[in-house]
């Protein structure tokens, strides 16, 4: 009963930086509150109506120097905090190439986590210590938020949008995973655990297909699963079929490259763009092609889309000619 924590664990590099910022602001906050309350207390006691032994002559009406002091002083302090906090914010929300990529899909009411080699887990997240982790979140129904208090990071899982965040765990152990955006009946049960493991242990865990999976049947990687879905949904009948390049743009070598649209606009063919082009192809037609592709809204699930995108990503360095034999 009496052994209860007052601060969360600090288990990531970013958590350490953000904690410092938190305590500096808190220190300033306490200073101001104590100063204001102490001043009020002293003044109220000293100038109480019953106290006649106090000089009340010439009470000041206004004082420009005083006003400037308490206008500029909070302003300068605020600016310092502003820049510091904006820098740390950019650190956690700017994607990094060296990060281990993990995708989390939120749905009422569970977290579905997808590792790049195909291992999947629900309401759990296994990650290695000591290297940057990039978690990309999306929702397939309402807005959720993927919150990891021990790492001081969270990101909203918004339907129709890939959001990501980066953090570098520094401690092994078990930590909370929470949903922090109200999402309906079982919002408070949409919780789980993060397991930070030694890199070797993580590797073993990954190769065994994750906890609870038969170790003999290592899962198919995300891109291979994507390739399968690509066939299941019939994508391959146009994209990649012989001579198809006439009807539809090639998917090889386009991942995260600029492409030109029919309206002359240039966009980067990133995951967000591909997701939209699968669900609602008419929204952005590539220059030189007709609006032929059927919409996959309601056909392809968020999970399948992520895998198809992983597959397209694997074609990043392939040549269009090879694929359309």
């Amino acid at each position: 009963m009496w052994n209860f924590p007052l601060v969360p664990p600090t288990a990531a590099e970013e958590a350490l930086h953000i904690s410092w910022l938190y305590w500096v602001i808190t220190g300033m906050a306490i200073f101001f509150v104590v100063a204001v309350c102490a001043a009020a207390l002293v003044l109220v006691v000293r100038y109480r109506a019953s106290n006649e032994n106090v000089n009340r002559d010439n009470p000041p009406e206004s004082d420009m120097r005083l006003e400037m002091t308490w206008t500029l002083m909070p302003l300068v302090l605020a600016l310092v905090i502003f820049f510091w906090a904006a820098k740390l914010y950019a650190d956690i929300y700017t994607p990094r190439d060296d990060a281990l990529e993990i995708i989390a899909i939120g749905k009422q009411w569970m977290w579905h986590v997808q590792h790049s080699n195909g291992v999947r887990e629900n309401n759990e997240l296994h990650i290695p210590v000591g290297r940057p982790i990039k978690v990309t979140v999306i929702s397939q129904d309402v807005i959720h938020a993927f919150s990891l208090p021990a790492f001081r990071v969270k990101r909203d899982a918004v339907p129709g949008r890939y959001n990501s965040m980066v953090f570098t765990p520094t401690k092994t152990g078990k930590f909370h995973l929470l949903c922090t955006e109200y999402c309906g009946t079982k919002h408070s049960e949409m919780i789980g655990s993060v397991y930070v493991m030694e890199p070797d242990d993580y590797q073993k865990w990954l190769e065994s297909g994750g906890k609870g999976t038969d170790s003999s049947s290592a899962p198919m990687s995300l891109e291979d699963q994507g390739k399968q879905i690509f066939t299941q949904l019939g994508c391959n009948t146009c994209h990649g079929a012989a001579g198809a390049a006439v009807r539809c743009p090639p998917l090889e070598g386009i991942y995260e490259k600029p492409i030109e649209l029919a309206n002359g606009q240039k966009v980067i063919a990133d995951a967000e763009y591909m997701r939209e082009s699968i669900l609602n192809p008419a929204a952005k037609i590539v220059k030189g092609y007709d609006n032929l592709m059927p919409a996959y809204q309601g056909v392809a699930s968020e999970d399948q889309i992520i895998k198809i995108i992983a597959y397209i990503k694997s074609l990043k360095d392939a040549k269009p000619a090879e694929a359309s034999k």
Binding site: M1, F4, P5, L6, P8, Y22, I25, M28, A29, F32, V33, V36, C37, A39, A40, L43, V44, Y47, R48, A49, P59, P60, S62, L66, W70, P74, L75, A78, L79, F82, W84, A85, K87, Y89, A90, I92, Y93, I143, S147, P149, R152, K154, R155, D156, V158, P159, G160, R161, N163, H176, L178, T180, E181, Y182, C183, G184, T185, K186, H187, S188
Partner: protein
């Protein structure tokens, strides 16, 4: 028109005609155009909604005594915190000070016989009360579980509760609020008594002016936004739901465009009240009047440009976020200016620690805590960790309850004699002020710690290591609840047994104290006063010796 025509059922000590005894039928109240009576109607209305919101809050706190969700079903719990939020924000806090005290006092303070549009004023009350009853009907018909923020697509496509009825209620009340804002703006511009220049206005009037600006400019946006949620629900149009081609983040932009300034609708009037109360009980002109007045306007204007700080983790552009964070830090400055100027007003004052003054000083302390914890949330990196946790809950309760409701209680006690003609029992009032102050801190201080540990808001069940602080918080809320029940008792008691109030029980400055009768006449002023001095002229004030009349009466026609 003339008082002589009315049947006068005056008691022995109420010989003069006043706005209460001029007519006594229920119908005379329901069709009244008198701003003071409309203020009283609002007082009864918002007190009722406060009671409903408070009951919902106590159920929420009782559920959170144990980490397992074992008192209420999770759906019931979700409906309770939504009821608490909707009732308290839309039907108590937003109308509270502007509609009750703004209505009652504005014409008295500026020397007018009524507001500019008395019929519109009555219509506003019917809209707020009617909107509130619709929301209440939604509650009785099964409730609503979206949270007061109505985030899409949950509210528009997924929730199976009475969302449409509730948002229609808020829409209607919202237009009541717009009408009140227009009414006040026109009243302040056009109906000031001769000589009541802008810089002779009491600071409460400045605060009302700033508040009305926000009401008029902001409320239409949230009203239409919520109506669009209802349209998406009922007609299936794709506006906010991405599955129908909408954008859920658009909703958040539109919602917070109003709902952040709405915080200033709640806090600015309280700041106005505190300026009046601190000045009256220090017997001192408010320090740096111009700075206090213009900081209200600065808060109202800058407050319109900070809404994106509610959305740092949603995936809005980083550049956009940086701008919002920067402007949010700027809004801290005028708030700090106010606090420092109130403190300096105490210096060399003659301070009487009455109940309204205790609430006023309580406001300064609690609002300061609410303000400085706003820094944690304006700072982008700490915001990401703290957003949607109990830290935010604690922060905005310090601003809205510690700030806005402390100001409301200060106003209620300060102007109670003017509204009812009776004094409230001072020692009971001081006791309840102390109880509320202590109970409030015990309730919400632990929530800062819970939030930093990561406890999310709107959780029906939670991790066991958070229990001790939650029990503490619930214990505090019971104490606070007692503190709010006491005034309900002694204020009602005072209506019959309280001491008869003199015209100016506090020896305060201002037309409403110095010119207006103990209980105001239906037309406020026998003749419209001509104002010759600024507000807060306490220079020649001495105890036991009322100052010379600062205002020359006469000239106007009756």
């Amino acid at each position: 028109m003339s008082a002589a025509e009315n049947q006068m059922e005056t008691q022995a000590h109420h010989e003069k005609v006043n706005y209460i005894n001029v007519r006594t039928t229920l119908l005379s109240w329901l069709v009244t155009l008198d701003h003071k009576r409309i203020g009283i109607l609002y007082l009864l209305t918002v007190s009722f909604f406060f009671l409903i919101g408070g009951l919902a809050a106590s159920l929420v706190r009782m559920e959170l005594v144990s980490p397992k969700g074992d008192l209420l079903e999770s759906d019931t719990y979700n409906k309770m915190f939504t009821t608490h939020g909707v009732m308290m924000i839309f039907f108590f806090l937003i109308p509270s000070i502007p509609a009750v005290f703004g209505n009652f006092l504005l014409p008295l303070m500026i020397g007018a016989r009524d507001v500019a549009f008395p019929r519109l004023n009555l219509l506003s009350w019917y809209m707020v009360a009617g909107g509130g009853l619709l929301a209440l009907a939604a509650l009785i018909m099964g409730g609503v579980d979206t949270g007061w923020t109505f985030y899409t697509p949950y509210s528009s496509s997924f929730a199976k509760t009475q969302v449409a009825l509730t948002v229609v209620g808020i829409f209607i009340a919202g237009f009541g609020s717009i009408f009140t804002g227009i009414n006040f703006l026109v009243t302040i511009h056009k109906m000031r008594a001769p000589g009541m220049t802008w810089f002779r206005l009491p600071l409460f009037v400045w605060a009302m002016y700033a508040t009305s600006l926000i009401m008029v400019l902001g409320t239409p946006v949230v009203a239409i936004t919520l109506l669009l949620v209802a349209v998406e629900r009922l007609l299936g149009l794709g506006i906010f739901d991405p599955a129908r081609g909408g954008d859920p983040i658009l909703f958040q932009h539109l919602f917070w465009f109003y709902s952040h300034p709405a915080v200033y609708i709640m806090i600015l009037p309280s700041m106005g009240v505190v300026s009046e109360v601190i000045s009256a009980f220090s017997k001192r002109r408010i320090f740096a009047y111009h700075f206090v007045a213009f900081s209200s306007l600065a808060i109202a204007i800058i407050g319109f440009l900070v809404w994106g700080h509610h959305m740092f983790s949603t995936g809005q552009s980083m550049y956009l976020g940086v701008v919002f964070s920067f402007i949010t830090f700027l809004v801290a400055v005028p708030s700090a200016i106010k606090v420092f100027n109130w403190l300096t007003t105490l210096y060399k004052g003659r301070i009487e620690l009455t109940a309204p003054m205790m609430y006023g000083l309580g406001f300064i302390g609690l609002f300061t805590i609410g303000g400085v914890t706003g820094l944690h949330l304006a700072a982008m990196a700490t915001n990401v960790h703290l957003t949607d946790t109990y830290f935010v809950v604690a922060h905005f309760h310090y601003v809205m309850v510690g700030g806005a409701i402390m100001g409301y209680m200060a106003a209620l006690h300060f102007w109670w004699p003017k509204m009812t003609g009776r004094m409230y029992p001072e020692s009971w009032a001081k006791l309840s002020a102390m109880i509320i102050f202590i109970g409030f801190n015990v309730t919400f201080m632990p929530q800062f710690i819970l939030g930093y540990m990561g406890m999310p808001r709107r959780y029906h069940s939670y991790n066991e290591e958070w229990q001790v602080l939650n029990v503490l918080s619930t214990a505090g809320s019971s104490v606070m609840g007692l503190g709010y029940i006491l005034p309900l008792g002694y204020l009602l008691w005072s209506l019959k047994y309280g001491k008869i109030a003199p015209q100016n029980p506090w020896n305060a400055r201002g037309l409403e104290w110095e010119i207006v009768d103990a209980i105001p006449h239906p037309h406020n002023f026998e003749t419209i006063p001509i104002v010759t001095q600024e507000a807060y002229d306490y220079e020649h004030w001495h105890p036991n010796k009322p100052a010379q009349q600062p205002v020359i009466v006469g000239g106007g026609k009756s």
